[in-house]
Amino acid sequence: MSAVAAFFNPTRQTRVLPGFGLSIGYTLVYLSLLVLIPLSAVFLKSAELSLAQFWDVVTAPRVVASYKLSFGASLLAAAINAVFGLALAWALVRYRFPGKKLIDALVDLPFALPTAVAGIALTALYAGNGWVGSLLEPLGIKVAFTPLGVLVALVFIGVPFVVRTVQPILEDLETELEEAAASLGAHRWTTFRRVILPILTPALLTGFALAFARAVGEYGSVIFIAGNMPMVSEITPLMIITKLEQYDYVGATAIAVVMLVLSFVLLLVINLLQAWSAKATGRNR
């Protein structure tokens, strides 16, 4: 442990407190055993394929169709959440209305409700005989068991992300900025566009990216409502499951590699966005 501690070399003044060697050692061992080594298994396993084989697996038409659906629906769902999440955050911070506390608490429902439960509940609602589905069916709109159903599930999953990243920024926003803009003659919409929105943008983008990242990997809430028709409504995580059920471990792993790389890129983007957000809102000062 002392070797570990020596490597990380905490500056001398911070060594007054005990337990650095023990806590950092435990952290690293636990992290390696449960996360890093298992994750590296994916990359090592995929190395069993040659580059050409790997390419064939990850660009098979059915797999490509699943990328299109997963990415397209996730982007759209994140965009819908950016717009309505902002409206919801705005209402929760700025307006008074009955049931506000309850709504504020229920915004986190997608975090707390098991995805399988969300999946069957959304299916029941949006199926042709469901409360919402039966209203849409006469209009010729089918939601459950179509790509639209995938979108609905992904919107549900992403609700808290935008709301909870934008809400604290809105709460901390000094009213003086809007007062200054108004005293300088700016109309409400001008103030929103030129003063408030630029301050919210980093948080809004962070929330968007978080919702998107979550949506791309989502499985439980989608598979019930998607219908899972090959080439039409199969999401990428389902492709991994399908390959596994056919005992095609290498194939499943190859698709997993594609998804993991995307996740890491998104993680990087999100980290940069959060740093920007912290800087832009002055929270680091």
Partner: protein
């Protein structure tokens, strides 16, 4: 432009922020709203700006009732205590904001905006900072940029909320002088809020003293300092010594002591509180003297141009609800002459004593 507020009342729940305030701010003056925190001064400023709506009463700008006018139509310049600069905009864009958001018909063209912003930045002596962002400026610089931004729309009045409150002592003094110069140059009717009496007396043409939502006194700095109208003003402006007593003809009876008094402002036999500034008290060391309130010297601070003597009341003052502490300012010569020692019992005799009925104090 002149500003009048008539019978303004503002309530926040159970708290009365403004209690039927009526005031007149003449054109071109620099007025200070002075008072302790919670006295309603900032609320009054915000009501004048249109940022706060009064429960009743009227705000009249240039003879026109502006009570129903939205803040963006009032053409007031407002400088916020913490400046409220837009941090995602450069200094230039901050100052240009008010011009850029004008309706298209009134909006100056880009060249004109550029010219006006640079002229304002020169006025506040910060032209060289045009491309910086607010986070790169010092507190004093931010304050001046906030002022330039407010002036850009050519406001009819300039309102400043604790303009020097967030600055350190040295910068504060410098900016005070600068604000005074700027006002002499521009002559925009200006009101600033402060809780610092020195600031108000030094900078303003006229001081409005407020307490608990009411106006206590309005006057020039000299008037309010030398002739306080109420016990509150007496206590708020500068150090003061208090004496609880009863008026007895040409005297005020304080306990078993007698203080000379000119008999103004008081009826015979009235319970009063007497006020005397530290320089309005003299110390008598003669043990045989009978005039004046007895006290014990606790500390003599003899440095600088004058000397300050701190004294404690005799025992039992606190129990009777009377002041336990006095402060006297004397010339250096007088202190040398008196040769005071710590623990010495003396008597305090006011050269001038202003009395107010007990209940008013």
């Amino acid at each position: 432009m002149s500003i009048q507020v008539q019978d303004i009342h503002k309530q926040f729940g159970n708290f009365t922020a403004l209690d039927h305030v009526t005031l007149d701010f003449p054109t071109g003056e620099l007025v200070a709203l002075l008072g302790p925190s919670g006295c309603g001064k900032t609320t009054l400023l915000r009501v004048i700006a249109g940022l706060e709506t009064a429960d009743s009463g009227r705000v009249i700008l240039e003879g026109e009732d502006a009570s129903g006018t939205h803040v963006r139509e009032r053409q007031v310049g407002f400088v916020f205590q913490h400046y409220a600069l837009f941090r995602h905009m450069s200094v230039f864009e901050n100052v240009a904001f008010g011009l850029r958001v004008k309706p298209r018909k009134e909006r100056p063209n880009e060249a004109e905006i550029r010219k006006r912003v640079h002229r304002l930045l020169e006025l506040v002596q910060l032209d060289w900072l045009a491309d910086r962002y607010p986070s790169q400026l010092s507190g004093g610089q931010r304050q001046r940029i906030a002022l330039a931004r407010a002036l850009a729309v050519e406001p009819r009045v300039l309102l400043l909320d604790e303009p020097f409150g967030a600055l350190d002592a040295k910068v504060r003094k410098e900016l005070r002088r600068w604000l005074r110069h700027l006002h002499d140059e521009l002559h925009v009717t200006s009101i600033f809020v402060t809780h610092d009496q020195e600031e108000a007396l030094e900078v303003a043409d006229r001081v409005v003293l407020m307490n608990k939502g009411r106006v206590e006194q309005v006057g020039t700095p000299q008037e309010v300092y030398e002739h306080p109208a109420t016990p509150f003003v007496y206590g708020f402006l500068g150090a003061v010594n208090l004496f609880h007593g009863r008026v007895d003809g040409e005297h005020v009876q304080v306990g078993d002591a007698v203080l000379p008094h000119d008999g103004r402002d008081a009826d015979h036999g009235a319970e009063v509180v007497g006020f005397a500034r530290p320089h309005e008290l003299d110390i008598v060391t003669d043990p045989a003297a009978t005039a004046g309130v007895a006290a014990v010297v606790s500390r003599v601070l003899a440095f600088g141009a004058s000397a300050r003597v701190e004294l404690d009341a005799l025992e039992g003052a606190a129990e009777r609800g009377e002041p336990t502490h006095y402060e006297v300012v004397l010339t250096r010569e007088r202190v040398t002459e008196l040769a005071l020692t710590e623990g010495q019992q003396v008597r305090l005799v006011p050269s001038s004593l202003r009395v107010f009925p007990r209940e008013a104090a």
